[in-house]
């Protein structure tokens, strides 16, 4: 049964997956077990995405199914489960830019890869990154941007992190749209990730996972 949910959800069979969840809930099963299976399934989805077996529609769809499962399970859940995480990452689209598709994909991939991600959303002022780094103690910062204006916002964000005395406490990765290694040099970030998988590899390398 457990295997069923993991594979059915990983294969994106929505109706079947929801039926299994319903059955297990009405059989009085612990909601936590169901959520753990869903997490395992999403890990597989992430792996398939990394292997170019899945693409963005598949990722988006798996997220949609997960949302429904969460809604079904939540009322029966006593308290949120503490899952052991690889490390913390502060993530956001930089000031002036409101694009979120790319950011959401990297956040999704970091999440299913075991990171605890603080997603600050879009059009995030530099100071908000600083505040979140201080509050969370996250050692990794991800700056996303689609427009060319993001080049300057990324540079400014790195500068503000530096001015706050945090530059040697965090590693900064950038990516999205027209960002390249030339832009990494320009912004003073530590690394540039070409796609979501590159972002995950960088984060893993930085936490020594």
């Amino acid at each position: 049964m457990a295997e069923d949910l993991v594979n059915t959800l990983a294969d994106l069979k929505e109706k079947e997956a929801l039926k299994i969840v319903e059955k297990r809930l009405s059989a009085g099963e612990e909601p936590l077990g169901i959520l753990n299976d869903a997490r395992k399934a999403l890990e597989i989805v992430g792996k398939r995405f990394a292997d170019s077996e899945y693409f963005i529609p598949d990722l988006v769809y798996s997220g949609e199914i997960l949302k429904i499962i969460n809604d079904m399970v939540k009322p029966k859940l006593a308290k949120a489960a503490g899952v052991k995480r690889l490390g913390k990452v502060v993530f956001g689209t930089v000031a002036g830019d409101i694009h979120d598709i790319g950011k959401d994909i990297v956040v999704f991939m970091l999440d299913v890869s075991g990171f605890e991600v603080y997603d600050l959303g879009v059009d995030v002022p530099a100071q908000k990154f600083v505040d979140k780094i201080k509050e969370s103690g996250a050692p990794i910062v991800g700056l996303s941007g689609f427009l060319a204006l993001a080049f300057d916002s990324m540079k400014e964000t790195v500068d503000v992190i530096k001015a706050a005395g945090l530059r040697d406490k965090v590693k900064v990765m950038i990516g999205g749209g027209q960002v390249s290694d030339e832009i990494r040099k320009y912004t003073g970030a530590d690394a540039y990730g070409k796609d979501a998988m590159a972002g995950v590899s960088l984060a893993k390398k930085w936490v020594g996972a």
Partner: protein, 445 residues
Amino acid sequence: MEKQWEEMSSDEKQEALFQRWISPEGVEFASPEAEKLYKERATRIKDAIQLKKLPDRVPVMLIPSFAPAFYSGLTPHDVMYDYDKITAAWKKFSLDFQPDTHGGCAVPSPGKFLEILDFKLYKWPGHGVSPETTYQCIEGEYMKADEYDILIHNPLYFFYYTWPSRVFGALEPIQTLPHLSFLTEMYGVAVPFIPYGLPPVQAAYKALLEAGNDALKWAGVVGAFDKEMPALGFPAHQAGPTKAPFDVIGDTLRGTRGIMVDMYRQPDKLLQAMEALTPMLIQLGVGAAKQAGNPLIFIPLHKGADGFLSDEQFKKFYWPSLRNVIMGLVDEGVVPFIWAEGGYNSRLEVIRDLPKGKMAWLFDLTDMAKAKEALDGIACVAGNMPMDLLTVGTPQDARDHAKKLIDTCGKGGGYIMANGAFFDEVKWENLKAIVDFTKEYGVYK
């Protein structure tokens, strides 16, 4: 006697549209030199696209977003709210850089118009984003998941009432207006008009009239510019845009998330809807090209890029309807100028299935050697001056990249130098370097 349009083959139609473009009616050239330049430039582009005759040199286009405003020390907000400022800035940009074409000056949409209608689809300078920032789309489900049948069977109603009432706050009251279908002859003829007497509906129509006035004011500026630029020697590189059916639904109707979930939950409806949109999108391009006497129609591509869809998804959901739009345009002699934003490396084999010498493909981040190889003898390739280089590179970097592009893609004709993505503020000396270098190094001997 000249052949009637309907009797012409698609080749003849294309030639006729090109001739109208090269020798435009009603343009009073500023000087014999301007006329000579205009004709050379238009002919150069025609030769690069048709792949029949080697152009005299590689043509060079600059396709800016708000760059002309920044170049003149103005913000996007300035030009979106003071329409008279647009002309001088956009003109200066073309005159200073001297590319082979101009692209009109319609990038700054009229700010007051947007405010009157309370446009919700975008944030724009001073209205959600800073005055120095370009406008940006807010994706949402402006068409709901269960509305495909309305779009498929009643697209006119959908685009006249349903959709505008959601993307324009001021038009919300029109969402429930009835059809004016007179089933009852004299008896009951007034019934469908009752809602038009209600204050909210009247306010919506009042806003429409005001918005129309402002749009007209803006159009006066844009139209005058389109008249003046040819007279100064610059042919327009587009008569107007159209889009890929998948992007119409994915960008502004269902949103990225919506369309991607629909690919799973209701694939047949999605395919039917794209089919229903296809004739409208063809007509959009054909109408604009014929009216302007300019065969070039831009098609910016968004959600079929590398990574967005798998090969199978691209072949099932994106390409067939896009190809139908392209072929519908080509049949009418229109030249699609297709702008593949992002990377298109994994799509090159698929898009080769097109007739020869009918279009141009402008690439953003695609490997240009592969693009040239795949489309050699099929379609003109263009673009790929990268944004990072324009923004943080040096003029020498720009020249080096331009040389590489001309060496790789220019061989035998069929290449147009151009930027890969819309640009705002860049290093102006880099733009100048690209144009000047192309004019010098890109000459075919």
